[in-house]
Symmetry: C2
DNA sequence: GCATATAGTATCAAGAATGATACCGTGGAA
DNA sequence: TTCCACGGTATCATTCTTGATACTATATGC
């Protein structure tokens, strides 16, 4: 988060929920985390996995998650460069969340996607 | 979502994750859903639960979630008006996600908040 | 000498999300 | 007669987020 969209300070009952979601609500974060669940990936590997994500955004999201302690960045002093991203221990603790999201999506994706091959809101 | 921040159409492997999170990434949505887990609430009850949320935003988020089929809006023909919000059946299926978020937040909230009773960034 | 691959960065622009504030109708209570 | 509660809406402004595009350094292979 460039600047916390979900505040981390108030503590109404929904606070913890807010806190947790605040860490994964970047446009690509959940997807990145999901892919990292399967193992370490290099920058360009991530780019290939997360299509349509510009390098700027990818760097952005990775840096934010690194700052949040969710992922680890390992740089190899090589040329051409080699940088590996992986889940930190903390990041791994998000696995239940990610799996719950995945499960829900798998179960309900038909609702707003391709029940009959196209989305109703899709003009084509 | 005024306009889907998380696209609902691509289908890279992280797709379902994206789809699920797309429905709850409004600034207040997860919190609203969390409170509705405990039962039906009226508009102003929600306002009291979700502090700092302007009526405009509350309406906004509620309408979006209604459009997404997550919540149900029941209007009573009374004066003064009475409107009740509750989780739809679909909304209820999000409970595992919400609980996972809550569990994570509860376990890790100390990381970025009040490890010693107050936030260091809190002026008071 | 030249192109290639890697892991980014810089700059600018657009678009989306959120906030602040004021306002609405109505029926009942004071 | 005036005020309040309820469930919002309207309008404007601001801030946050995201995208597009071009660009960098350097060792290696051709």
């Amino acid at each position: 988060m460039a600047k916390a969209r979900h505040s981390r300070f108030d503590c109404t009952p929904g606070c913890s929920v807010e806190a947790a979601i605040g860490l994964i609500d970047g446009k690509w974060k959940s997807i990145i985390l999901w892919h990292l669940l399967s193992g370490t990936l290099r920058f360009n590997e991530l780019r290939r996995h997360v299509e349509n994500c510009t390098p700027r955004m990818l760097t952005n999201q990775l840096r934010e998650m690194e700052a949040d302690g969710l992922i680890t960045r390992k740089v190899y002093a090589q040329v051409p460069p080699k940088v590996e991203y992986s889940l930190s221990e903390l990041g791994r603790t998000m696995e239940p969340i990610l799996r719950a999201l995945k499960a829900w999506g798998d179960a309900n994706i038909g609702l707003y996607g391709k029940p009959n091959g196209h989305d109703p809101r899709d003009p084509a």
